[in-house]
């Protein structure tokens, strides 16, 4: 019974991380690449997929590290440094493995991987998971859902920006200005999901 309810809880958390609590549109994490790398759908997709992968894995890793290393040693306040190191090491490792075994994938995703280390959404997901005291399965679902939510947001943004290219935008609003307004409208739309989950 308890595993059943936990599974259900994990699914709810995953769903809400994608829609009602989208990590980008409600907690504003990962804005820099969101504005910087959202000119083309193709690159946005590549970066988004890389984020989904790294976010899921690092949330799981950080959960394990936090629960089995930091908590027994009572070093919880050390989590900032440890999480950053785990994320950086993981990204480096993935880069090396990809480079060695799948050059094609490396060419596609490789350029995005270093960018991800400094993506605050990745660290943010790990910090949120600690603050909300998720259990293992829930934490994994949360990491995955947040990644998917981020991917969704940046894809939509890139699509809109591509359509917007021929439009004549006031000079001061070009680039990041208009991108922020689009993001605001998207956030408004995502508020519509509130209430789907209780």
């Amino acid at each position: 019974m308890s595993t059943h309810t936990e599974l259900w809880h994990a699914m709810v958390v995953c769903f809400s991380a994608v829609f009602t609590g989208n990590i980008l549109l409600t907690t504003f994490l990962g804005m820099c690449p969101f504005l910087g790398v959202s000119r083309e759908v193709k690159t946005a997709l590549g970066l988004g997929l890389a984020v989904v992968f790294v976010m899921t894995s690092t949330t799981v890793l950080n959960w394990l590290v936090y629960r089995y290393v930091l908590m027994p040693l009572q070093l919880e306040f050390f989590r900032f440094i440890i999480f950053i190191i785990v994320i950086a090491a993981f990204v480096q490792l993935v880069e090396m493995i990809l480079d060695r075994y799948s050059p094609l994938l490396y060419q596609k995703l490789g350029i995005f991987l270093p960018l991800i280390t400094v993506n605050c959404a990745i660290l943010g997901a790990s910090l949120f998971m600690v603050i909300r005291e998720y259990r293992f399965l829930t934490a994994a679902a949360y990491g995955f859902g947040s990644g998917i939510g981020w991917l969704l947001a940046i894809l939509a943004m890139a699509g809109i920006r591509q359509k917007l290219q021929p439009a004549r935008i006031p000079r001061g609003l070009q680039g990041p200005g208009i991108a922020l307004i689009i993001a605001g409208l998207m956030a408004l739309a995502f508020i519509g999901f509130t209430g789907v989950l209780q």
Partner: protein
């Protein structure tokens, strides 16, 4: 890099190269903590302190840091100060610590600090680096405060929790302003304003 006077460094960091407007950096927390002015003040103080202290430390260690691992060293230095602030908040102001939640920790990944360390502090003497960090932090704080005043005033009719005369009574509160979309719109308008006002704003942001 040529020598620059302290005043020049400060003005550059505060206004001409304002990190938020010009470079659109570090806006994650700019948007997240600006729904109330008080939260913003604390966040700004934390960020300014971290930036100044990290720049000072990076600059002090600039001759002893091997180039290859400098990013890691910088991250550790920044994380050190952030942990200090986090512990201080937990000990003396737990409500604020909870309100800011993960955003204190996220100062570490705030691109502004890393950017200043990387672009300025590691080439310049400690005094100048510290000043640059301080001014960058203040430039950032100034934008955050502007955003938060607009948001709290329009959204709640108050500033710092104190009701503003006309707004508290006659203003139809725009709750949307204290919600996430309001943050996007406010920042967009400020960026628009700044880029239209500032001279030679080519606006070629990445």
């Amino acid at each position: 890099m040529k020598k620059r006077s302290p005043a020049d460094v400060a003005i550059q960091a505060l206004w001409r190269d304002n990190p938020v407007f010009r470079q659109i950096l570090g806006i994650c927390s700019a948007l997240a903590v600006t729904n109330l002015v008080l939260n913003t003040l604390v966040m700004c103080a934390a960020l300014t302190l971290t930036t100044a202290a990290s720049c000072l430390t990076v600059s002090l260690l600039r001759k002893y840091t091997p180039d290859r691992i400098r990013m890691m060293v910088q991250t550790l230095i920044i994380a050190f100060y952030v942990i200090l602030i986090d512990i201080w908040l937990k000990a003396f102001w737990p409500e604020m610590g909870r309100a800011l939640g993960p955003y204190v920790g996220l100062i570490i990944t705030n691109c502004i600090i890393m950017g200043r360390c990387e672009a300025f502090a590691r080439f310049n003497p400690p005094g100048l680096a510290c000043l640059d960090g301080l001014a960058s932090g203040l430039g950032y704080a100034f934008v955050l405060l502007a955003i938060s005043v607009v948001r709290e005033l329009l959204g709640m009719g108050s500033i710092l929790g104190l009701p503003v005369p006309w707004f508290a009574t006659h203003w139809d509160k725009w709750i949307i302003m204290v919600m996430p979309p309001g943050a996007f719109f406010t920042l967009a308008c400020l960026v628009w304003l700044f880029r239209s006002l500032a001279p030679n704003a080519e606006g070629t942001a990445k």
